[in-house]
């Protein structure tokens, strides 16, 4: 029941927000997202940390076809849901300084997207998963397309076509798998896990599923939609995309690819790792050359997600637990980075790195927050990024020494582009543009402080979160190695 409530509440709240006229919508949306956060924390408190699926809801959906509306949470799902319910209120709060046109639609779409996201992370039936997968896509398309920058129409359209194209293949694979289940057929997760398919079938099924997830993550060479979309979307849209939606791809691979076609995975995992590692290096090198802050962080995201993908496909515990914790860390850090970029842009009206300098002098508070998030991104010990990347690199190293060594370059290259950026933006002489830069307002602090706290929490005591997902990850590994 709790899971159903977590899914339904944002959708209901979205309808409510639609009825509100004017800028009051943002407050109601924020309140609704906070209520959802309370629900999420309530689920966390009542969660027993073992491998079982809890808060289960199993109702017939298309009864005669054996398709159930089955949702519930194990440790992996819970972590993703917690990430979602934690970030969405902050993302809403981060937009308070903007007065968007048609605010009620804007905030209703954000809440509606939350329904899709929570649905994706809790679905235990393939068709329910696909359903929410697309439900999450529609709102973000409109958010980016209606409130985005100049090239938004072309860019968001490319993004939409790209992702739907991928997911249609996933749908075809699901339908095929559904017909392989015995008896009257079932599309439940457990039924898919029990399938025994020959290696040849698994081989092509792997690509049908992988393309969908790879486009969403995105893994090199399926990333071409991402930098454009990130830079054209409004700040809130970019945060939703990079902070949460990207995790749909990783989570999808974890839940619906690795355990479903293990033979296909073992056949192709080297290819995926090579692609992921190319992405790590490629993203980092391109990021070094960027002049636009948003694009820089977008490419750094390609690089970091490459590492998560690589860790995931190593199929060892370090890699997978690393992927889990890094999904949280990346979500927190990237949302913080994009928010700071949004603050800078709204103060001085540009994202060009060359135009900035000396911002620290007026803004001690923001500088500290920015630096902490940045150090989290470059994986300094004691911050959240370190835990995730360390585990991931260990996983990749176990898989193959050379790959581990090359993937490890991400930390060096990450430090290069991030610290260079910080230096050029925040230090140095003040100029005409940055002279009047004011420090954070109360609302902005209210967004950044929780994020900074999380950077340290995960960095200092990752076990709070790792222990939640560990039993489920081990169980999943058993299924994969069956």
């Amino acid at each position: 029941m709790l899971t159903a409530l977590l899914i339904l509440w944002p959708a209901l709240a979205a309808l409510l927000v639609l009825l509100v006229k004017g800028q009051g919508a943002k407050r109601i949306a924020f309140g609704a997202a906070l209520a959802e956060l309370v629900l999420g924390v309530w689920a966390w408190i009542n969660f027993t940390p073992n491998a079982s699926t809890q808060f289960l809801l199993n109702e017939p959906w298309i009864a005669e076809a054996g398709i159930m509306f089955k949702v519930g949470m194990d440790g992996i799902s819970l972590l993703m849901v917690l990430l979602t319910v934690f970030l969405v209120p902050l993302i809403i709060l981060s937009t308070f300084k903007h007065n968007y046109e048609k605010p009620s639609s804007f905030y209703a779409l954000i809440l509606f997207m939350q329904t899709g996201l929570v649905g994706v992370f809790t679905a235990l039936d393939a068709f329910v998963f696909y359903f929410f997968w697309e439900v999450a896509l529609i709102p973000i398309y409109f958010i980016a397309g209606m409130w985005g920058g100049e090239n938004r129409v072309r860019v968001t359209f490319k993004f939409f076509i790209y992702t739907v194209f991928g997911s249609l293949f996933m749908l075809a694979a699901f339908v095929y798998l559904y017909f392989q289940t015995p008896g009257t057929h079932s599309s439940e997760e457990v039924a898919f896990y029990q399938l025994v398919l020959d290696a040849g079938t698994q081989s092509w099924l792997f690509w049908f599923l992988f393309i969908a997830f790879a486009i969403k993550m995105p893994v090199f060479p399926f990333h071409t939609w991402q930098p454009d979309t990130y830079s054209e979307a409004p700040a809130a849209g970019t945060m939703l995309l990079s902070g949460i939606m990207l995790k749909m791809g990783i989570y999808g691979a974890l839940r619906w690819l690795l355990p479903v076609v293990p033979l296909g995975v073992s056949q192709w995992s080297t290819v995926v790792l090579v692609l992921a590692i190319i992405g790590i290096i490629y993203g980092a090198i391109i990021a070094i050359r960027q002049q636009d802050l948003k694009r820089l962080v977008a490419f750094s995201s390609v690089s970091h997600v490459g590492l998560i993908a690589a860790g995931l496909f190593t199929l060892n515990e370090h890699g997978m637990q690393g992927a889990m914790v890094q999904m949280l860390s990346h979500g927190i850090n990237v949302v913080g980075m994009f928010f700071i970029i949004d603050i800078i842009q709204s103060r001085i009206g540009t994202r060009e790195i060359a135009a900035m300098g000396g911002i620290t002098q007026n803004t001690p508070f923001m500088s500290v927050c920015f630096l902490v998030l940045l150090l989290g991104t470059v994986a300094l010990p004691l911050t959240n990024g370190f835990v995730g990347e360390f585990l991931l690199l260990m996983g990749v190293y176990q898989y193959n020494n050379w790959m581990g060594a090359i993937a490890g370059l991400t930390i060096i290259l990450g430090a290069v582009y991030m610290l260079r950026m910080f230096q050029r933006v925040m230090f140095g002489e003040q100029n005409e543009i940055t002279r009047g830069f004011t420090d954070l307002t109360f609302n902005e602090k209210a967004v950044l402080v929780p994020l900074v706290v999380m950077v340290f929490w995960i960095g200092l005591h990752p076990n709070t979160f790792l222990s939640l997902s560990e039993p489920s990850v081990l169980k999943l590994l058993d299924v994969i190695k069956r």
Partner: protein, 458 residues
């Protein structure tokens, strides 16, 4: 059967109602007629009967498709309100023709004998030839009527020729007798039988607007007054595909291997031509014409397998497609009447001036594109499932690719509505049309959220 009789009587009665001075009473009367006919149809649910020496039969298959057609007509009519204001329009005649055409459609889904199929197609088509040209002063409407009539009668001729050959080969018009003869496949008459089948197939393919006999569709759709285009692309198509399915499953299911490659080739061609043709259109109406071709292709996928699943899939898809198409044509009618054009550009900024119209159109486009939360998604899912049950993986790959192409052209309208500056002022709506549009949206979303309600009717 009751609905056939009732609708014929209502059609004639309606002509007399037309003598009354006020044209405004006509629509409520026709809506009432249709509601009565719908009730009479549903009354036959689970009560199979046959009539006229078993030439016509009502079973759940025919009741289901009849209901879809009657409901579609009910939902289309409210958009014809504007004709009631126009003094020159012969409204009573139009409505009567629609009712007669519906009678033909019902015969097409309940035939047991090829002659009834032929008569049904003719009754339906002749009404449509006239309605296509009902905008008498408009040269495009005249062209549409002429083209539709010439091509249509030519293909009905081909169909009749096929029926004659089948009779020559099997000595029967009844589906069951033909099925028996086809399974025996007497070498002496086999060429005749297969030739006859091919010609009948050609005739029906024309009616549902499948490639390579689709050429009439864009021109005829464009010229025909929008309300009747909407009828043409929903009711006529539903009748055609149901008749097609019934023919292939009841009469030729046993010689599946013989015609299967042909049907698959037609399906693939239809999917390709419909979807790729739609991409290059700049007019919304022509885009919808090509989209209707592509949906004929999707529906034909169900012909790759004959079981409960595929029957239900066709029914579900027909309803989902009809509801979305009616909504799209309904919104388009208001936009083109008000802004004088049915180009994409006419829809610019509709999201700002008329949020309701834009929202309805968005839901319709999402449904036609097969995005979840709408009926179109489950329609596609069920159809693809039917084909995958036969291991037609490569056919599904083509269909999936074409669905992705579909998103491209359906979303151009959405982009125009929400991401461009308004091309005109607010469009005034009457309450009945508003109510109908909202019902269409509710039905689409209901089918997308609780598909179980509709997916296992037959």
């Amino acid at each position: 059967m009751t609905s056939i009789i009732l609708l014929s009587i209502f059609g004639i009665l309606n002509l007399f109602v037309g003598f009354m001075k006020s044209k405004r009473v006509l629509m409520p009367v026709v809506l009432l007629f249709l509601a009565v006919a719908l009730g009479a149809t549903l009354f036959d649910w689970n009560q199979p009967k046959s009539y006229f020496s078993n030439m016509l039969s009502t079973d759940n298959f025919s009741v289901g498709f009849t209901a879809v057609m009657v409901v579609s007509t009910l939902l289309i009519l409210p958009f014809s309100r504007r004709y009631a204001i126009n003094e020159n329009a012969n409204l009573a005649e139009y409505y009567s023709l629609l009712l007669f055409s519906l009678v033909g459609g019902i015969m097409m889904v309940s035939y047991e004998n090829l002659l009834i199929l032929f008569v049904g197609i003719e009754i339906m088509s002749i009404s449509m030839y006239i309605l296509a040209g009902s905008d008498k002063r408009n040269i495009l409407s005249n062209e549409a009527s002429m083209k539709y009539f010439l091509m249509g009668s030519f293909f009905t001729g081909i169909l009749l020729f096929g029926v004659a050959l089948l009779y020559g080969a099997t000595g029967a018009f009844y589906l069951t007798d033909i099925a028996a003869a086809a399974t025996r496949m007497d070498p002496a008459t086999a060429p005749l039988l297969l030739m006859g089948l091919l010609l009948v197939l050609t005739g029906i393919t024309f009616k549902i607007g499948a490639a390579p006999f689709h050429f009439w569709t864009p021109d005829v759709y464009e010229g025909t007054p929008t309300v009747f285009t909407s009828y043409m692309s929903t009711v006529v198509k539903t009748a055609g595909i149901a008749a097609f399915y019934k023919l292939m499953s009841a009469a030729f299911g046993g010689v599946y291997d013989q015609w299967f490659p042909t049907v698959v080739a037609i399906t693939v061609l239809t999917l390709l031509i419909g979807n790729i043709g739609a991409v290059t259109q700049t007019s919304m109406k022509r885009m919808l014409a090509y989209s209707s071709i592509s949906h004929a292709g999707y529906l034909m996928i169900a012909l790759t397998s004959f079981n409960d699943r595929s029957e239900n899939a066709i029914l579900f898809y027909s309803l989902a497609y009809a509801v979305a198409t009616i909504a799209a044509f309904g919104v388009m009618k208001y936009v083109s009447d008000e802004r004088g054009s049915d180009e994409y550009a006419a829809f610019n900024g509709l999201g700002k001036t008329n949020p309701l119209l834009a929202f309805v159109m968005t839901v319709a486009m999402l449904s036609l594109a097969g995005i979840p939360l709408t009926g179109g998604f489950f329609g596609k899912l069920f159809l693809f499932s039917a084909a995958l049950e036969q291991d037609m993986v490569w056919l599904i790959v083509i269909a999936v690719l074409m669905s992705a192409v579909g998103i491209y052209y359906y979303f151009r309208v959405i982009i125009a509505m929400y991401m461009k500056e308004p091309a005109g002022d607010r469009i005034a709506l009457d309450p009945l049309a508003t109510f109908t549009l909202i019902s269409l949206v509710v039905l689409t979303v209901l089918m997308g959220v609780a598909p179980g309600l509709f997916s296992n009717l037959l």
